[in-house]
Every structure is written in C-alpha cells, then in structure tokens.
C-alpha cells in the first residue's frame, strides 16, 4: 500500500544488517533458528550421551538435572535421542529438498523447453500428484526393507511433481519473453539458452519451493515413522521417539512433547526462511502458498 512512494526516485541506500532484519524479520528469525538447529545436529551428538543406551532401571524418569529431557520407557536419555533426532530430520529434510529440486529442475526445464516431452511427463506428474504423498510414500516403503535411504526416496517421489510444476511454469513464461524469442530466432543453441537465460530465472523460485519441500519432508518423515513405516525404529528420529513414546504419553508426556516441539521449531524455522525468501526473491509466488 505504499504505491504512492514507489514512483518517487529514491537515492540508493547503503545495505545495513539492521534494516535488512527490520525489512525481513522472517528470514532473520528463520535463518538464526535453523543455524542453531543445524549446529545442534552437527555438533550436538558429540556432547550428549549414547542415545541407544538402555537403562531399564531408570525408565520413564521425568526431566531433571541428570536427564534434561527425562528418559523413555527403556530408560534411554530423551535429550541424547532428541539431539540425534535433529540429525535424522535435517538429513531427510535437506536431502529430500536437494534431490527433488535437482530432479524437478531437470524435468521442469525439459518439459518447459522440449514441448514434445511436456505432455508425456506432465501426465505422469499429474498421476503421481493425484496420490496423497504419505500414502505414496508408505506404499513405496511396503515394497522394500526399511531404511533411511528408502524413506528419502519415498518422500522425494511425491515431492518431485510439485517442483516440476513450478519450474515448468517459469520456463514457459520466460520462453515467451521477447528476448528469449529473439535468441531462439537468432539461432542460439538450446543448451546455451537454457544455461544462460532460463536457469538463472528459475533459481529464486526453486530455492523458495525447496524450503517448503524441506519442511514438508520433515513432517512426512515424522508421520511415516509415527505410523511405523518410516526409518527403522532403532534410529532415533523424532518421529520414532514420538511413536515409541506415545504409549506413555499420559505418564511420560516429555517423550512426545519435547521431540514434538523440536520438530515444530525446525519446520517453523524452515517455513519462516521460505516465507522470507519468497517475499524477497519472488513476490509472484506469494499467491501460491
């Protein structure tokens, strides 16, 4: 609503961290939270105890000085498990985001560019998108043995079409820009065209989209683990900690609430970062999601 000032020529302002944060507090909050969580995931496990160490004598102890987050029904240290769990969640989130962005980018560029491929690939993407993602993921997992890699693959597959759609839409809109049309008319080679003109334009929305993919992947992983169809139960992922603690929610709520809070915070951080980046990089995307 500041349209009135928009057409006033303004003197360029110097970049300052303070004003950047003021203008984009979501990016700042999201980034700081995420950096802290990544630091915890990377460094944390070296400082906490063994997350797998079972001590039946100390089972279901409430949070205390000795066990900051209490213990679970096998006497395992929920603090150590939660810290390790951050690793699993971030690995799943980041690798799903990276892989599905890469695949989505390739397919999206191909679809947007080679029109003959488009119809075929997009029909497949529509089909995959018609299947709710958790359902698709568990169906894929049923057919294989459980493992972190399989979980990542199973989450990537339903996420790819979403990325493809975003990339393809952008490629199509860029393709109709006069400068690309003239480049095509001028005989620029396809590969060069893609690399030079199209790719850079897709990056911003792709980054924004991949933050959402990352957040949703973490939630899906937790959901799958919660249902018993996720990463193998001996790996302390947040979903597994919650799944194993849910039986004891009433007598040991910390086994659910603490990893749940960590999961929510991480997803929140990634979402805030995504929102902030979207506002900054690609206001057009603001209307979708």
């Amino acid at each position: 609503m500041v349209a009135i000032t928009d057409d006033l020529p303004l003197a360029p302002r110097r970049f300052s961290l303070g004003s950047a944060i003021r203008r984009n507090p979501t990016i700042a909050i999201g980034a700081v939270l995420l950096i802290v969580l990544i630091a915890i995931a990377v460094v944390g496990p070296y400082f906490v105890g063994n997350p797998l160490k079972i001590a039946p004598v100390n089972r279901l102890r409430p949070p205390s000085e000795r066990w900051w987050f209490g213990t679970d029904q096998f006497g395992r240290d929920v603090f150590a498990r939660t810290i390790y769990g951050s690793r699993v969640s971030l690995i799943v989130g980041l690798s799903v985001a990276a892989i599905s962005s890469a695949l989505g980018l390739i397919l999206g560029l191909a679809c947007g560019y080679f029109r003959r491929l488009d119809g075929f690939v997009m029909r497949i993407m529509d089909g995959v998108m018609a299947i709710p993602s958790i359902l698709l993921a568990i169906a894929l997992i049923t057919l294989t043995r459980p493992g972190l890699g399989i979980v990542i693959v199973a989450i990537v597959i339903p996420e790819v079409p979403r990325v493809v759609r975003v990339v393809r839409a952008i490629v199509l809109s860029i393709r109709s820009q006069p400068y690309i049309e003239s480049a095509i008319a001028g005989g620029t080679r396809n590969a060069k065209l893609l690399l030079r003109h199209v790719l850079p334009n897709t990056l911003a929305p792709l980054i924004v989209q991949s933050t959402y993919v990352c957040a949703s992947a973490m939630l899906i992983e937790a959901g799958l683990s919660f249902l018993g169809a996720g990463v193998p139960p001996e790996i302390p992922s947040w979903g597994n900690i919650i799944a194993q603690g849910r039986t004891f929610f009433q007598i040991a709520p910390w086994t659910i609430l603490i990893p749940g809070a960590f999961l929510a915070t991480t997803v929140l951080a990634v979402n805030l970062l995504g929102d902030g980046l979207r506002d900054r990089l690609d206001p057009r995307l603001a209307r979708r999601l």
């Binding site: 609503m1 500041v2 009135i4 000032t5 057409d7 006033l8 004003s19 203008r23």
Partner: protein, 328 residues
Amino acid sequence: MTALLEVRDLCTQFSTLDGVVRAVDGVSFDVARGETLGIVGESGCGKSVTALSILRLIPPETGRIASGSIHFEGNDLATLGEREMKRLRGHRISMIFQEPMTSLNPVLTVGTQIAENVVRHLDVSWKQARERAREMLDLVRIADSRRRIDEYPHQLSGGMRQRVMIAMALSCDPQVLIADEPTTALDVTIQAQILDLMLELKEKTGTAIVLITHDLGVVAETAERVVVMYAGRKVEEAPVDALFERPLHPYTRGLMAAIPRLDVDAESDGRRPRLQEIPGLVPRLTQPIVGCAFASRCGLATDRCRTTAPPVVDAGGGHTVACWEARP
C-alpha cells in the same frame, strides 16, 4: 458564487520505512458549483493524493490527513465520521479513476456495479436501481444497454469501461465528480470522446468536476480553472486562459515547454525544436523541504528561494502564484 468545496491547507502524510512522506503539503483551493477545476502536475506531485484525501480514501494503514480542512456542504471532510463519509462517497462526491481496466470489479456484472451504488445511497429497490443503471448506460452512450448491463467488464472495451465508470459515478447525481486521470490509459480518439462526454454530462447535470491530469492539453480543453502542483504544494492557480497565456511560475513554464507544439514552425533543418526537459530530480518528500520546493531545479533560484518558502501572491484576476522570482 460561494465555493461548493473548500480545501484549506491540506496536509496528507504517509509513513514508510524511509520516514514520513509529505505527499500533500499545505494545499488550498476552491471548487465552485458546476465548475471544472483542473489539477496538473508530474506524477508524484500529490495531485492524486489530494483527490483521494477529499474522499478520505487514503489507505489508513499508512496514510493520514495530518492537518487542514475540506469543507463541503457544511461538513469538514477531514474530520467527518466514517459513517457519514460512506454516505457521502458515490452520492454527493464521486470519483472515477485512471485505469478503467482495473477499476471495475472483474467478477461482477457492470449492472450490479452501477446498481449497488444507487441502492446504497438512494431509497430504491434493486429492480429500480437496475433500471437506473440501464438509463445511465444509455446516458453514457453505451449501445444495447439491455445486453451490456449483464456483461462482465472483460467483455467491454477500454472506452466502454470508462463510460461505465462515469455512469456509475454519476448514477446518484453527485455535486462533485473527481476524475483522476480519466483518459490517460485510453487511445487518443477515445480520450476525446470521453472528455466530450464528461463535459456534456456536466452541462446536463450541473456537477462540478475536479479533473486531475498530468496532461496540460486536456486541461486546456476542459478546465475552467487550473491548479498546478509540485512536490505536494500548490505553486500556481489561475483561470485556464490566464495560465496558458501568462504562466508565472518557472515550473509551470517548464511544463509548458515540455509540451510538443505543432504551432511552432519547424527549424530550417526540418526538425522541430527539442522538447525542453526540466533538469534535476524531484526532492525527496521524506524530509521537510526548506524554502521553495522547486529551487533545486529552478534556473532562477536565489539564496532566498533556498531558505524561505515563497508566499502565495495574488497576481490579479484570480491568478495566484507561489514564487519569489515570478514577475506578474
């Protein structure tokens, strides 16, 4: 003749991340019953904000009328309650906007959009209001009004949409019609038709028009009196003939020099003289401007101009100007 609308020392401000923008800074003018007043200036000079201020359509999140008064029919619109304002808008004072493409709601039929104004302000049924809408469409010379009334804006051409806007604005016989760049977005031929239509309807209804434009040509053709604005301030006001004959403010003169003129002979090499630009940038409105706002771009500026704001001087015959160096 007493003024219908009296604007006095109007100041409208916006808060932005860069500070407070003084978009309108102490503007005063009158509009007489049935008169056509032109307000001209570059984009960003505050003329649109002035118009929006009169109807109090300044977005409340960021903007506000900081001071001044707007007297109309015994009320001060600057402080009138929102309920009363709502009753007044579209009824006593209405407004049409620059972009007929976007100023009509794309998902409602034009009939609905006209009729809802009538229903809102006049004590009539929807059916009567629809009939009034159809009459208005006829009045603005839209052919086949019976069919058009149920069409959506995207089915109409740009000129037709602006006619619909005018029909809507005049549907409750307002005292004042504020037209903010009503023709800018239209083809030249359509522009003339629309302006003619507005003048014709003015004659019929006796509505006063406040015509806001950056186009001196439009002003010359339609307005009776002209207010020239620069950087949120009124720099000159005069009857239209007086202004064009004898512009007093250096800025007004600059504007006129920037109009391509066909009546000046081509130079010997067959080219018309280069249009003159006004050098320099409009000052930023986030800081209070000391002295004359135009001083930084004015060839005649003196030290006095840069330190003390010039008073409004009466040059006779309703011609006023705010300039130290103006020679009446």
